[in-house]
């Protein structure tokens, strides 16, 4: 399902085709296909249980698909762990906050990739906390994220600030693509706005963002393209400039299937 989208000269960063995934009798993904180009924000929407998280988990190495192909940065890949995906430049903000609340922001951002001191001390595992902190500050400034009191354990921060750390960690490390599974689900209006700004900020550096959200106004505010999943199938692709929220809801619930470009009914 390689879609030749007008005016897109570049190769997609990520292109997956005909992904299938079963959980026992549940057919969670049915021939799902998706392509993501540099510098775009793709919103993945769908009802609860549509398979959004499963798709993200397959693409980020958490789950292995039963079948399907995945082409990433021009090469066929299959990730057998999240670490492999991360090493390839794929970062993820998971739906279940994957932070360690008793550590501070810097420790969380560098968790699993700690910088150690030069020389013997480094070989003994001594951490270079100063350097990690400086790099964090630099990156957060670049991304215009404000996390107050970098040295404070996250338990003492609000939920929004904690999610900010999780998002900052992903965007700071991503070199190819960022996935966010409901990054704003637990957030208030102000923090949601911050995350949406962050998504744009990342997109502007050329790195595409795929994010899942149930908040239609948010989706239409920030997405360049909307992909609709229903019962494990990609049933529609909408252009937020021409489609309406009603179109999106209809596509998600399956009352009527239509393509946003008004080319008539497209059955996925």
């Amino acid at each position: 399902m390689v879609k030749a989208v007008a005016g897109r000269a570049m190769e997609p960063v990520l292109q997956v085709e005909n992904i299938n995934k079963h959980f026992g009798a549940v057919h969670a993904l049915r021939n799902a296909s998706l392509a993501v180009w540099p510098g775009e924000v793709v919103a993945l929407i769908g009802d609860n249980g549509a398979g959004k998280s499963t798709l993200v988990n397959v693409l980020t190495g958490v789950l292995r698909p039963d079948s399907g192909t995945m082409i990433f940065a021009g090469e066929r890949v299959s990730f057998s762990s999240p670490q492999e995906a991360r090493a390839a430049g794929i970062e993820t903000v998971y739906q279940d906050l994957a932070i360690a609340p008793h550590l501070d922001a810097v420790a969380n951002i560098f968790l699993g990739r700690e910088l150690t001191m030069p020389g013997l001390a480094g070989h003994l595992g001594f951490l270079d906390n100063g350097k990690m902190r400086r790099e964090t500050e630099e990156q957060l400034t670049r991304l215009r994220v404000r996390i107050p009191k970098l040295g404070r354990r996250l338990v003492t921060l609000s939920g929004g600030q904690r999610q900010g750390v999780a998002v900052a960690r992903a965007v700071m490390w991503a070199s190819k693509i960022v996935f966010m599974d409901e990054p704003t689900a637990a957030l208030g209006v102000a923090q949601t706005e911050m995350v949406l700004d962050l998504i744009r900020e990342v997109r502007n550096t050329g790195i595409p963002v795929v994010f899942i959200s149930h908040n239609m106004p948010n989706v239409f505010e920030v997405a360049d393209r909307i992909v609709v999943l229903r019962l494990g199938e990609v049933v529609a692709e909408l252009d937020p400039r021409t489609a309406s929220i009603d179109d999106a809801v209809l596509a998600m619930t399956g009352a009527r299937r239509r393509d946003a470009r008004g080319e008539g009914a497209v059955v996925g």
């Binding site: 008793h102 968790l111 107050p148 609000s158 706005e193 911050m194 700004d197």
Partner: protein, 357 residues
Amino acid sequence: MASTQTPVAPSLEAEPKPTLGQRLSNAFTLLILLAIVIIFTLLQRTTFLSIGNLNNVLIDTSQLLLLTIGVTFVIITAGIDLSISSILILSAVVAAKVMIQFSGTPEQVAAYSFPNQAMAIPIGLALGVLTGIVCGLVNGLLVTRLNMPSFIVTLGTLGVFLGIAQLLTGGTTVAGVPPAIQQDIGLRDLFPWPLFGADFRLIPPMIIAFVLTVAAAVLLNFTRFGRYTYAIGSNMAAARRVGIDVNRHLLKVYALSGFFAGVAGTFDLMRFGTASVGSHQSDNLAAISAAVIGGTSLFGGLGTIGGSVIGAFIPATLRNGLVISGVPAFWQNVAVGVVLILAVYIDQRRRSAEERM
């Protein structure tokens, strides 16, 4: 474009203030220790604060301190090690048996002559510590490979390790250990100058405990090992997601706890020249209590070596003070129990305050 505007700073929200529970528990243990010292000093001005007496408290506590430090690492990972008391006993027994074995022929040993003790004592000490590490590895393997709760695993090995020690000794105290371990090593006064008065003795167990405590603090605070210890206790799933080899790390942590218990076991030989299977059987609970009183959370992710040091000193300080004051030392158990319950209560309050994410 929206990206040119500064994102709404999350710091606009009210900063959550540290809760009463948080502030309490930070100062909690230190306050308790201070209160104990003050009370006993007022009661028994001259004796309690004397150098000789404080020296006794230091010596008495060095063994419990090691157990506490080791188990602190385990508790920070949200695990528990109930078997440390049995590891201590088994390590002491193995060290004693090895020393006797290598010191000379059974006849020589029976005649109280130990021709090879210069070699036998270091080998015995090393194998005693190694026994502790092996026991810890067994715990770690069972916890990580069988995916069993550490409470159950170490409750099981608590019995297993003690049983092996009893089988090795026939249930009695191991006698016939070369006395040099006590005279020349364990009780040697390394500070013979009368700077702090004649009562002050600096013996090797104190130095070993001090050095290992400092090393543990460095390990926990400044290294990747320490960082992973906290991360696993804070959110094990998150630690796995970022690629930390959680099982491998836990294995090391249980081995570390075994190591500390093994070293604590050799202190018995150094100080008393015997390995007894009858004593120490509740040291596991004393050490866990000390760690918890010192602010280590049984829920994981929280704890400091400094807190554990203070926690470890509370029982010995209490006992010592009670004895000097002529109060039945059994009150120590009552007091430590009450303090423990208070400490856990505060920890729980703090935890539930934090969990309102």
